[in-house]
């Protein structure tokens, strides 16, 4: 049963991920990405990481992807404009990755790492609480650094956006 569910989610993720770059209409690409985010959230749920699943949907599907859609619709991109002569750059990156993947499949025994295998926490414990405690004790410093970086990025985005209208005394 668990194998079947995983297979379904993994299959849909793979197909929709390919569709995101293969579809000609950018709006359909965004929708395909939306379906992919949903299935990634589904994978999290099968791993008893409900909190991550909800955050995945709220942050990616609910906020970031809506902005993508916003931009795609506003730009009204001509369908062929997206395909610049960049495919060979992509190939340059992808071929080594593919080779690495093949090597991994061939060499590794595909043993699930001990960290992920058994759901040590079990379905009963509060997943959100566990994440909170880990974030604010073990990983407190990286957490704070990450939030600081995000703040800097936010300020930077505002400064960049404001520069255009700076002349008019805004």
């Amino acid at each position: 049963m668990a194998q079947l569910v995983f297979g379904y989610f993994a299959g849909v993720i793979a197909v929709t991920a390919i569709l995101v770059v293969a579809l000609r209409n950018p709006v359909y690409s965004v929708l395909s990405l939306l379906i992919m985010f949903f299935h990634v959230a589904g994978l999290y749920i099968t791993l008893h990481a409900e909190f991550l699943a909800a955050v995945q949907l709220i942050v990616y599907a609910g906020a970031i992807l809506v902005l993508y859609l916003f931009v795609v619709m506003l730009l009204n991109a001509k369908q062929d404009d997206r395909y610049h002569r960049q495919w060979w750059v992509a190939g340059f990156v992808c071929v080594p990755l593919l080779l690495e993947l093949l090597v991994l499949f061939a060499g590794g025994k595909m043993e699930p790492s001990p960290l992920l295998s058994a759901d040590q926490a079990g379905p009963g414990t509060d997943n959100a609480k566990a994440i909170g405690i880990t974030l604010f004790s073990t990983y407190l410093f990286p957490f704070e650094v990450a939030s600081l970086i995000l703040l800097v990025a936010m300020v930077g985005a505002i400064v960049l956006a404001k520069r255009d209208i700076g002349g008019s005394g805004a």
């Binding site: 709006v27 909190f51 949907l57 609910g62 997943n127």
Partner: protein
Amino acid sequence: MTELGLRFILSLTQIAVVVLIVIVTVLILTLAERKVLGWMQDRMGPMEVGPYGILQPFADAIKLFFKEDIVPAGANKFLFTAAPLLALIPAFIGFAVIPWGPDWTVELNGIVYKPFVISDINIGILYILAFASLGAYGIILGGWASNSKYSLLGGLRSAAQVISYELNVGLAIIGVIILAGSLSLVQITNAQSGWFWHWYLFAFPAPQIFAFVVYVISSVAETNRVPFDLPEAESELVAGFFTEYSGLRFAFFYLAEYANMILVSCIAAAMFLGGWNAPYPGTILDLLGFPSLAWIENTMWFAAKTYFFLFLFFWLRATLPRLRYDQLMRFGWKVMLPIALANIVVTSIAVYLFPNS
């Protein structure tokens, strides 16, 4: 019958009942809105269909059902069809974690289930937020697929508005989550039992009054209601994102809007006003010797609180003029957001100082 099958049937029954209740409530609301608006403007409201106009919702439904279904020329047919469904599903799916009555467990053939909540998941409120944020897709795509400038403008406005105000909704309820120490709506409601000053609106050590005000205003904005109905502003955008929609597809958008209103009202009742808890400890029916009927009193309290918020929606609509778009954005980001953030800080400090209250 296998255990899985029985569980499946139980869940389906619960879902069917909840969906039925929501749809009936929507029918009531369409009439109630016009009646309340009528009374507030010193007129009668609909009076023709049935005694006192009470059959008007059915007349509306039949009319929408038989109207011609028009797809505008140049519209993207697939997305034009999908958009109303994309708006409707997120509006209904959130009801799965709303606790309608007391947190009882019933055992049937060895299967333990809770009769008054479809699914008590430990991230209940996040689940609702996650799906509520998807409601914007239906609106944006509907606006875009219609191939109309009015619709596109309405859809874009809605995108910006929903994202901005969703943030405030999320931040406003964090105070309650800090107090309750749980994300499950069932546990949040359980924690508010007793006298009404245990409701998180008034609760010691950090009354969530400011968060409550932010939540109510933001949820009005999130459901695109007056005075925040810019995505469908009739006087500027004809009807915004559903200008081109007719018949059943229009009805779907309409249904989604009202279902969203009911959903945010249920959340407000559950998180700030104690949900199904009466303002006094226990229930009167329990004292009178009918403990097995106590759930009626509890669900009635929940309904009363929810309808109070729904009435508030109508009241606002009858009272306030529409905001201008830049006012809307400034209000959201420069007034509501700081209040919500300050509330989180104050609540955290208060809970830290009085950890056991």
